[in-house]
Amino acid sequence: MKALDISGLTKTYKGGTQALKGIDLEVQEGDFFALLGPNGAGKSTTIGIISSLINKSTGSAKVFGHCLDKELVEAKSCIGLVPQEFNFNQFETLFQIVVNQAGYYGVPRDIAKSKAEKYLKQLDLWEKRNEPARELSGGMKRRLMIARALMHEPKMLILDEPTAGVDIEIRRSMWTFLKEINKQGITIILTTHYLEEAEMLCRNIAIIDKGVIVENTSMKALLSQLNVETFVLDLPVQTKPPVLNGFEYRNLDDHTLEVDVLKDVGLNDVFTQLSQQGVTVLSMRNKANRLEELFVRMVESGRAQQQGAS
């Protein structure tokens, strides 16, 4: 079953900004789906429309078969939203925030209290339950929004940059938690700027730019398009720059070598050639996140196509 089915969705804001130019998107039930795009691409507008915070201009959206125009109550009941900005009452306690949210979905108060205990414990917030939300750290606030979104046990969780500004340790614990609830059957749609996050978590991906979907494929298929990686090798100071036959390479200074390696060629030959020249490799790293490079390439290619079409 399709968890999300968007067709021809457009949004033009007052003032004329066209945020979405007719996007089509499908997310299958149980998927862990990434929606990527640069700032202002239309990610948050798409999420805003799905979660009823923004009125669409044209097009249709269905959540688990429930059309937002005709079966809004049923559609809303299927969604849990973790927005980008903190949007809870800073003066309320954590317990009040999550219990009230369950109440808005019609969960009786005694059941809401037991769910609050469950999710606040799972997200390591139980000890803070009686503290006002404003006293939490940034990471705790993010986790609070996840707990709040799960209180009515939605079939689909939408997270808009959930790990923005969160330290690595908490980010990784959030990833583990999200993977776990996805395993339990909750469909997850994630927007993020951390491409590593999308690579780690998501099975399918869509890239949106300037209101247009420029790529919609599986993460596996996307990564298979990466056929070249650039490595930076730290060497002892060289009097004579090393030479690599059959590779694109650059001697950045007298002790740093940058080399492009085709995926199907591998690194062995690089090391062999350097050994033959008596060069020791002290350390090595990727020049940049390879997914990031691909992302930039796709966005640029999408923009070129849009310009060509216009």
């Binding site: 979660s51 923004i54 809303k76 939203l81 009452n89 949210q101 808005y104």
Partner: protein, 256 residues
């Protein structure tokens, strides 16, 4: 479905009540102090020199009006500040993403305003008992007038907050409209003391009907017919509730 809707309404109402009780120093104490000052200055000090009004001591005469004044300002302020804060902090989105019918959102916030108004009404009544014995002519009229007036001004406060873009916008109406209308609404005087022309002008002021309806419930005297008062209150309630519901439905001020 009905049960789910009721739970949502109850949740909004509890949240609203918790809010004004949490900040009781800002919400419950000031009306008690202000009204004590009114009773001391206008009732005890100046009132003694005024003598009787409508067949009652001046203090007895102004008590219903002062209670009503507190009810009006507090029901309005509660909803306008609470809803605008929810917009400002964006926690109104908690309600917008949930399957809560829009009329329940309106009813929940208005219910919060009514709850505060009733509590303030009780506090001010208790304060007035320190200064004067209170007559009760018709308890049912007191209760109905109190409920209709507080719900009317709570709804008005909600409409103000829907349109407000800054905190200044929610203080403009209370300062420049509500306060003058309340002071000129017969709280401190009987309309019969005014020249005929100003009596007629006063009757355009809706607060005159609320104050007098309430006063009739306490004292059994009124400058206007209490049936007219209750009828007008009912009509205004229906009109403003419908307007607030339509504005929320259209997403004015809350959805882009």
């Amino acid at each position: 479905m009905v049960n789910r809707t009721f739970i949502a309404l109850r949740t909004i109402w509890i949240k609203e009540c918790t809010r004004f009780l949490r900040i009781w120093v800002q919400t419950l104490v000031p009306p008690a102090i202000t009204m004590s000052l009114y009773f001391i200055i206008f009732g005890s000090l100046i009132g003694k020199r005024i003598g009787e009004m409508g067949g009652f001591s001046y203090m007895e005469f102004i008590v219903p009006g002062l209670i009503m004044m507190s009810v009006i300002t507090n029901s309005y302020a509660n909803v306008s500040s609470s809803f605008f804060s929810a917009k400002f902090q964006r926690n109104i989105e908690e309600l917008l993403v949930a399957p809560v019918p829009n009329w329940i959102i309106v009813l929940g916030f208005v219910g919060g305003g009514v709850a505060r108004a009733i509590l303030i009404g009780i506090i001010v009544t208790c304060v007035s008992l320190l200064f004067v014995d209170i007559h009760i002519h018709n308890f049912a009229i007191i209760v109905v007038t109190l409920l209709l007036t507080s719900s009317l001004f709570a709804t008005a406060g909600l409409i103000n907050a829907i349109f407000a873009k800054t905190f200044d916008d929610i203080s403009v109406v209370p300062t420049f409209v509500l306060t003058p209308l309340t002071y000129l609404g017969g709280v401190f005087y009987s309309l019969t003391l005014l020249p005929e022309f100003w009596q007629w002008v006063s009757k355009i002021n809706p607060i005159v009907y609320m104050v007098n309806g309430f006063r009739y419930g306490f004292l059994g005297v009124s400058d206007v017919n209490y049936v007219t008062s209750l009828g007008l209150l009912l009509v205004f309630n229906v009109v403003l509730f419908t307007l607030a519901y339509q504005l929320i439905n259209r997403g004015v001020g809350i959805r882009s």
